[in-house]
Every structure is written in C-alpha cells, then in structure tokens.
C-alpha cells in the first residue's frame, strides 16, 4: 500500500497575475479510492489538480504528502486536459518516462508496446504522435502516465474527446489501476462517469471546494442549493 497518504492541504492557494485561480483549499485525502472533482467551467478544477500535483506555484498555505515532497513527486503522474504530444512516435512517447528513469532502450520499447496494446494504440506504435486524433491523444497520454506505475494519478477530463466505447475502455483501465492500488484524483464533466468511478466527490465553485461528500451522498442528496442546481443542469450562481 502507498505510504504517500494522508495528503494534507491547508489554506493552499494559487494566484496568477493577482487573480486567485483556486483556494484557499483545506483538504485531507486518505489512501485508496477515487476522488472526482466536478464543477462548472472555470470553477478551478484544472487549477486544483495542478496545485495538488505541484506544478502550479503555491502562493499560500501548504500541501504535504506523508512521504515527503521529493519522494511524492516521483510517484505521481498527470494526464492533462489538452494532452502534450512529444514530437516523436507513439512508441517513443510511451517509452519516454521510462527512459528518463534510466530504463534501457530495449526494455522501454517492450513496455511501451505492451502499454500501447493496453490502451488500444497497438497499431499506431510507429505513427508520429502529432498526427493522432483527439481521442487517440488522450489514450496515449493515459498510457504514458501509467507506464511508470504511479501511486497517484491525476486526470484532467481524460475522456473529454472519447467516444462511448473508448470511454468504457478507459474506465476499465482506470478501474484496474484502482484495484492495483493507484489513487485517482480526476476531474470530469460527465456525471455518469463520476457516478461510475467516484468514491467521493469534490464540488468546486469559484475556486473553492463548495461541497464534499461520498458519491452516494453527493448525487442522491446534495447538501447545497448550488450543487443541486449544477446536477440539474441549471446555471450555478
């Protein structure tokens, strides 16, 4: 089991050019399970994930992993809302994180090929990543994030451009990862997906955690009027 948790967040806040993107956030995350972050556009979901992952500057507060900052970074991976494609083949994209860690070229290739198969890119291995479709890019980004066997996986709307079938496939991959002990922290606009995957929900509004609850609690009996409105598809003030 992971020694990274609990993750303790106190008063954490990021600002960009004077504007608060997200925060102050107080949060305690335990090991295991899937935390789903939802909220309207611009609520700060992306900003929150980036802040927790440590790639957005922390302007106030603290974010502390049980195992310490340095070790925590090596055990996390992030799938961006707009996947970053290295100007290389699909295979070399998948192998890149391994190569960084000093894995031999042969071994990295072998693992990349296996991962491509897993995420459904088996016949695209030799293609330049830059010619992939939006959905294929998301699959590639997911495979690249999983290849170093992270203990924590951040996913920023990983299924945004996937068709129904690909989405189910990705959800299966994510469920398997969870069974293997990977902790997921993921944002989505798809409430069905949130219900299927989440063990708890963070509802974000205006850069703050407006409501937090277990999946059943949140979807069946949201506590705040804003969460109710959001789930009904109404405009949230």
């Amino acid at each position: 089991m992971s020694d990274m948790f609990p993750l303790i967040v106190e008063g954490a806040l990021t600002r960009r050019r004077g504007k608060v993107l997200v925060g102050p956030v107080d949060l305690r995350l335990e090991a295991g399970g899937v935390t789903i972050v939802i909220g309207p556009n611009g609520a700060g979901k992306t900003s929150l994930l980036r802040m927790l992952h440590g790639i957005a500057r922390l302007n106030a507060g603290r974010i502390e992993w049980a195992c310490g900052q340095e070790r925590a970074r090596e055990k996390q991976a992030f799938v961006f809302q707009t996947p970053v494609m290295l100007r290389r083949s699909v295979r070399d994209n998948l192998a890149y994180p391994l190569r960084l860690g000093g894995v031999t070229r042969r071994e990295a290739r072998a693992q990349a090929d296996a991962m491509a198969e897993k995420v459904g890119l088996g016949d695209a291995l030799g293609r330049p990543a830059t010619v992939l479709s939006g959905g294929e890019r998301q699959k590639l980004a997911l495979g690249r994030a999983l290849i170093r066997s992270p203990q924590v996986l951040f996913l920023d709307e990983p299924c945004a451009s996937l068709d129904g079938r690909a989405m189910r496939e990705v959800e299966e991959i994510l469920k398997t990862a969870v069974q293997d002990g990977v902790r997921l922290i993921m944002s989505t606009h798809n409430m069905g997906q949130a219900r299927r995957l989440a063990s708890e929900v963070l509802f974000l509004l205006g850069g703050k955690i407006h409501e937090r609850g277990s999946t059943v609690e949140f979807f069946d009996a949201p506590k705040t009027a804003q969460a109710r409105a959001f789930l009904n598809g109404d405009i949230v003030e």
Partner: protein, 234 residues
C-alpha cells in the same frame, strides 16, 4: 558585352573541366565554413535550448544582446579578431593571423548569434508546448534541454543551414583575418573579389556560379526540411 560572353563561356569551361584552382578554392571554402558551422552549432544550439528552458535574471538582457549581435557588421568582427590575433594582441603568440583557423574563428563569431537566435525562437515555442509534461515528469534541466534539442532537430537544422548560408557568403571579415593568401587562405568570396578586381571575369564568374549553387542548395534544403517537418516525417 563581349567581355561578359567571353567570361561566361570560359567560366563554363572551368567548371566543366574541374579546374584545379577552382576545386582547391571551393574545397577550402567548404572546409573553413563547415568547421565554423560545426563549432558554432555546438555552441549556439545548446545556448538556444538553455535560453528557452531556464528562467534566470539576465535572460532578457542576454536575448537582447544576442539579437543585437546578429546585426553585427562582419567587417567589424574581422577587425576585432584581427586586433586580438595580431602579433601585439593578447593572442598574438598563437600565430593564428592569416591562417584558416583565424577565418574559422571570425565565422564562428558571426554566425553563433544568428543560429542561437533562430534556435531559441523555435525551441521557445516547443518548450511552451512541452512545459507542463516535462515539469510533471520531474525532469532535470539537462533532460529538458535534450528533449527540446532532439525533438526540435528539424528546426535546428534549418537554423544551422541559415548559419551556413551566412558564413559561406561572407567576405569582409575573412578577407581581413585570412589575408586572401593564394593556396592558403583564399576562399570563394575573397577569390571573387580579387579576380574581379584583376579583371579575370572567367574565374570570378565560375566561382560565383559555385557560390550561387551552394546558396540555392541550402535554400532548397531548408524548404524541404520545413515541408517534411510539417508532415512529421522524421
């Protein structure tokens, strides 16, 4: 008018028969410029990557200086290198003045800012694309720079070719530091200047054709590279 026709036809004969002088001068030109290009690229490309990846206090100033140096008149570079290498200068003991090495030094100084500047432009764009991923993967600065240099290789080759074009056609600086000595430091451009002055249009024109050919080849190469770059073929 007949001078011109005579010159042209004799120039073709020189080219056709691979005239010994012509070949020698062309070979020296290529040797000097390709050496300068290799050295300049080894300096300028990592510099461009460094400027793209690192945020340091003097960064903006460094970039501004680099861009300013791009506009440096080559003759002035020649003058400065001459002063530094001349017997009374700080590097006089090396005895490099009027050698191909001196010409290489001058060309390196002329094209490093050009190559670094173009490389920086291209890599900065790539970096803004890669930034999030490479930070997230916890890469070291060296790893970031190598990722940019490798994945930006096509753009960087274009930058180097631009440097080659500038260096091979340069005349002022290498005339000053090389001295245009026959069988020693005479290259395409300085030979053209000399032969034209002497009124020997045939050799000058033949040399000119070679220079033009090289320039066209470089431009075609850049064009082809840009096209394959867009298609992501290598």
């Amino acid at each position: 008018m007949s001078d011109l026709w005579d010159g042209l036809s004799q120039a073709w004969i020189l080219l056709w028969t691979l005239d010994a002088d012509l070949v020698e001068i062309t070979a020296r030109s290529l040797q000097v410029t390709l050496t300068a290009l290799a050295i300049a690229s080894a300096i300028a490309l990592p510099l461009g990557a460094f400027l793209a990846v690192r945020r340091f206090r003097m960064r903006r100033l460094t970039i501004a200086v680099l861009n300013a140096l791009m506009g440096l008149p080559p003759v002035v570079v020649g003058l400065v290198v001459y002063v530094l290498l001349s017997r009374a200068g700080p590097f006089g003991v090396l005895g490099l003045l009027f050698t191909p090495t001196a010409m290489i030094i001058a060309q390196v100084i002329i094209i490093v800012p050009l190559i670094a500047s173009i490389a920086h432009q291209a890599l900065r764009e790539l970096w803004s694309d890669y930034h999030d991923l490479l930070i997230s993967l916890n890469t070291s600065h060296v790893q970031r720079m190598s990722a940019l240099l490798w994945d930006g290789r096509r753009a960087l080759l274009t930058a180097s070719l631009a440097g080659f074009g500038r260096a091979i056609g340069e005349v002022g600086a290498i005339m000053i530091v090389g001295g245009n000595i026959d069988h020693h430091t005479r290259v395409l451009t300085t030979a053209i200047a000399l032969e034209t002055g002497k009124g020997d249009f045939a050799l000058a024109l033949a040399l000119g054709f070679i220079l033009i050919g090289l320039a066209i080849a470089v431009n075609l190469a850049i064009h082809w590279l840009t096209r394959t770059e867009q298609e992501g073929r290598w």
